[in-house]
Symmetry: C2
Subunit: 340 residues, 2 copies
């Protein structure tokens, strides 16, 4: 990471990163971060951003995960404003902490961007990163800022277990119940489908009608406090749904050495999703079963232990397959970065 | 981060990332990582890679820092092989942990690369990352793999303090001595100058003669155990030299509210550096004072407390300026990513 000296006057937001230079921009990022951070200084943070490294102490093990989002591949600036792009990068990284049963304590962030990126774009991405981290109860601990040909955001999130046992993905046991968080699994995929449809047809009509689904794609808002809640409830296995439900089921089944069976009509969906699927003429299960990036949690619990706020969608059996509505789904594929 | 299922047969190294797909390549990365990792499993690691997130417990605070390296900007594949590129990304991130007085416990890694990157290139970068992390006493805890237009490596390193107080950059006190680690400060800059000269003149002659300097540019090898050693010696301030000595002096002076004075001829240099400077007709101080990326450590110690292996190069006084050989250096600039 970079150390920064004193911050100077605010930088003109319309200037480019290349014009302003790395040192000046980092000073401005630090200044704006501190301004946004005054009311929020969790006791875990010993030393925050502005030194070579940060020091954090939650009195126990540290949970850590990293996730990268690339412009044009994982997000589009013509579909999302920079603040939302930054916030989304935090949510997708933080969901991995929740999936271990962890509480988010902090993030470190790398922003790579072309020199002709405006200062305003970088500051807005950073504001989104700060805001999302704060909403999760953590603090932005530091970062790096480098030049690149395209915008690449890497968010590494750390968390605390507060005495809980970490919940691995491979712990599902025959007899368990499978449950998910959230009230609309596949809402992000529905939003993406609406955006692609609007682009194809050249009209924003449906985007206005289903603005909630579009918002769910731009910035998923899973309740990540359900991760620690599941750990307290004794969850046997957990993961976040980042590549579509079926991909996570395949991963959990393989890692646990079990058979998973899900009833498609038990997967929580919203009325908006049903309406949108009808309007677009698509099968709702394209979104609920194979759609990705909601970052809701999938857990495996002993019968009677499913926590409040979770919806039971299936069961765990002896075996190694994954079934949805009585059909195996080994050949179904979720979203993949390098897809052909 | 991504969860992975069972690894399958080794993947053909000459195929591309796009052909093989993200899931298959991650399985292969996990497989090869485990193969390289059997002899090395530090007690800090509770859960390693292969789950949503890793869990690490060193029984105290966690030090964390992130650094990003971009192909064509921070490294060049025509100058460094993929393994060296991976190792270098670890060293530059890990140096920040050492600069706080920390011991490296683990890394998490994001590899972004174009779909036409060969599997072999990715595996070699990963092998370099693993090897460098292991050499530092840590373990690769997890990562992310995504598509991008160019190779972007982000390494986040975590470390432990083992009871030591973290050493900030802003703690230098009047009366302190300034000291650095290593025997050849600016060797990386010398190696870069030699590579640029060889490119300009179209001959590798000097690269062979000064292969040690070229190697120092490709992969700096600071002794990062000197970070915890400095902490045990009661260092008042510390940082790693990543942007050139003068930039770090400016940062330390500003953060500490002190005046720093360095004698250029006390900065450790190698005979190779003297010879190379003569052959290229450049001032040695272009490398020692303004050259960057050695990742050696700069510390401020009470008189009599400079640890073995460090070289005293100057003193700390009341004031706010930085002096080298009696001249202020506020206008000297080190390496900057977004430089015009």
């Amino acid at each position: 990471m970079v150390s920064v000296g004193d911050a100077r006057d605010p930088v003109d937001r319309s200037r480019t990163v290349g014009e302003v230079g790395e040192r000046r921009l980092i000073a401005e990022l630090t200044r704006s971060s501190r301004a946004l951070d005054v009311t929020h200084r969790p006791p875990d943070v010993v030393i925050g951003s502005g030194d070579d490294a940060a020091v954090i102490d939650s009195g126990g093990p540290t949970v850590i995960s990293t996730d990268t989002a690339v412009a044009g591949r994982h997000f589009r600036f013509d579909w999302s404003d920079p603040r939302t792009v930054g916030a989304r990068a935090v949510v997708q990284s933080a969901a991995d902490i929740a999936a271990m049963g962890g509480r988010v304590t902090g993030t470190v962030v790398s922003i790579a961007c072309p020199p002709d990126t405006t200062v305003g774009t970088v500051l807005d991405m950073n504001a989104g990163i700060l805001d999302a981290t704060h909403r999760l109860g953590g603090r932005v601990l530091g970062g790096d800022l480098v030049g690149a040909d395209e915008v690449v955001l890497t968010v590494t999130t750390v968390g605390a277990l507060d005495g809980a046992t970490p919940i691995v993905v491979g712990g599902a046991r025959p007899g368990d119940l499978l449950a998910v968080t959230g009230s609309a699994l596949g809402a992000s995929a529905a939003g993406l489908a609406l955006l692609l449809d609007a682009q194809r047809r050249g009209t924003d009509e449906l985007l206005t009608e289903f603005s909630g689904l579009v918002a769910a794609h731009r910035l998923p808002a899973p309740d990540l406090t359900q991760g620690p809640a599941a750990a307290r409830a004794g969850a046997h296995a957990m993961t976040d749904i980042s590549d579509g439900l079926v991909e996570e089921l395949i991963t959990m089944a393989a890692a646990s050495g079990v058979q998973l069976s899900v009833a498609g009509d038990r997967i929580p969906v919203s009325d908006d999703m049903r309406s949108a699927a009808e309007r677009l003429g698509v099968d709702l299960r394209d979104w609920t079963v194979t759609g990705g990036e909601d970052h809701e949690l999938l857990g495996s619990f002993a019968a009677g232990s499913v926590p409040p706020g979770w919806t039971t969608i299936g069961e765990v059996h002896d075996g190694t397959a994954v079934w949805v509505d009585g059909r195996t789904v080994q050949d179904l594929q979720g979203w993949q970065s390098f897809g052909s």
